[in-house]
Symmetry: C2
Subunit: 208 residues, 2 copies
DNA sequence: TAGATTGTTAATCGATTAACAATC
DNA sequence: TAGATTGTTAATCGATTAACAATC
């Protein structure tokens, strides 16, 4: 239907809109203007209207946006209404932190499985989910309908975990290992390379 | 000296160059071309040359870039040679994961302090660093010369931690709480909002 | 020298901002 | 109605890509 390609910049802003709308909802707001959204997000109102207009007409002229309705629609654009099933591979410190990540719930994701290859970790329970052997990934992926695999293993094992996830037919990978992964085109990857953010901060404070 | 403003896009790529150069170095490469860098990073060689040229002339025409030299220079641009001192506030699951983050060392940062407000956590040792009470932040910041504060506390406490960090005269904040923080202009903030990446992944797999 | 590859200028492409008609 | 605010077109700004002279 909508054949226009949406820029990465816009897609990056949508989750921020969603978060801000959630907070506005918590504040009991019924209606919010692009101006107020812009103030809260430190973006121009024009940009927000432009972004939203790419997906439909969600506002009322002279009035603004109904908070509930817009939040629902932005959530739908982001596909959060699919309530994707998530599995985490690598239950080290980061894996544990992610397994306990509260925003999974707030964003509608379900944590359905945890995997590791260390016998000392397999069998443990983290946030009500039991850690399974990585060898069970294939069968679990099917039974539990895993949509997204999170890679939280050391860099040198990341590619082989990615291969296993691809073989298990997952749709997307959320990768925390600082390596460029090779996967088929139809598997989407989002890289969460923490060292980028930290190095960026270093750059900014270096000037002073 | 160099008065040109560097775009955020360029600054985001510099850490990736640095990482790739580090790997090339590990592979024993002496010289690398913008073409080869582009292949490894999935970027065009023109873009890489353009980015680097903003900071100086690091290559040899007809030859390429000396890996060691370029890595040194990119590291210097990013300010990694400052060996910034880092403190983490909030030693929950995420704080522990970050305290054990190996890339701190690879990038030249020093983990010098950990803080929490939970008496059950204060006094524990994580990655050879003892967790102190948040009340000691002010005095420690001075003694230990803390440059960067990492916020790994729940969203509702993030702003007050930021205020304390600002008061303690740190230079930059690496913020993992999903909230927009208010700090003076001269304190730099980099937000590491994991829900953005995950929501983006949701968007990409929703189309299929 | 011939081949390769940088650094840089010019051309293109895309994203943001400005402006304003439509309308609640 | 008058005031407010959206949705959208046009103008501007910035970033990427293409091209090529310089030179190792």
């Amino acid at each position: 239907m909508k054949e226009q390609t949406i820029s990465k910049a816009t897609i990056d802003r949508l989750p921020l809109y969603y978060r801000t709308l959630r907070l506005a909802q918590d504040d009991g707001m019924d209606i919010i203007s692009s101006d107020e959204l812009g103030r809260r997000l430190e973006l121009t109102p024009e940009q927000i209207r432009k972004d939203l207009a790419l997906f439909g007409q969600f506002g009322k002229k002279g009035v603004g946006y109904y908070v509930n309705e817009l939040k629902f629609n932005v959530g739908k654009i982001l596909g959060l209404d699919n309530h994707w099933n998530i599995a985490i591979v690598g239950i080290g410190h980061l894996g544990v932190a992610l397994a306990n990540y509260q925003n999974f719930i707030a964003l509608g994701f379900n944590l359905v499985a945890l995997f590791d290859n260390d016998p000392n970790i397999i069998g443990k329970t983290v946030n009500h989910v039991k850690v399974k052997s990585i060898d069970e990934l294939q069968s679990c992926a099917k039974n539990l309908k895993i949509d997204i695999g999170v890679i939280a293993v050391p860099a040198q094992f990341a590619q082989q975990v990615a291969d296993k996830l691809v073989k298990a037919n997952i749709k997307g990978i959320w990768n925390f290992a600082p390596v460029k992964m090779r996967v088929p085109e139809d598997v989407k990857i989002v890289n969460e390379d923490l060292s980028v953010g930290l190095s960026r901060l270093s750059y900014y404070i270096t000037g002073k």
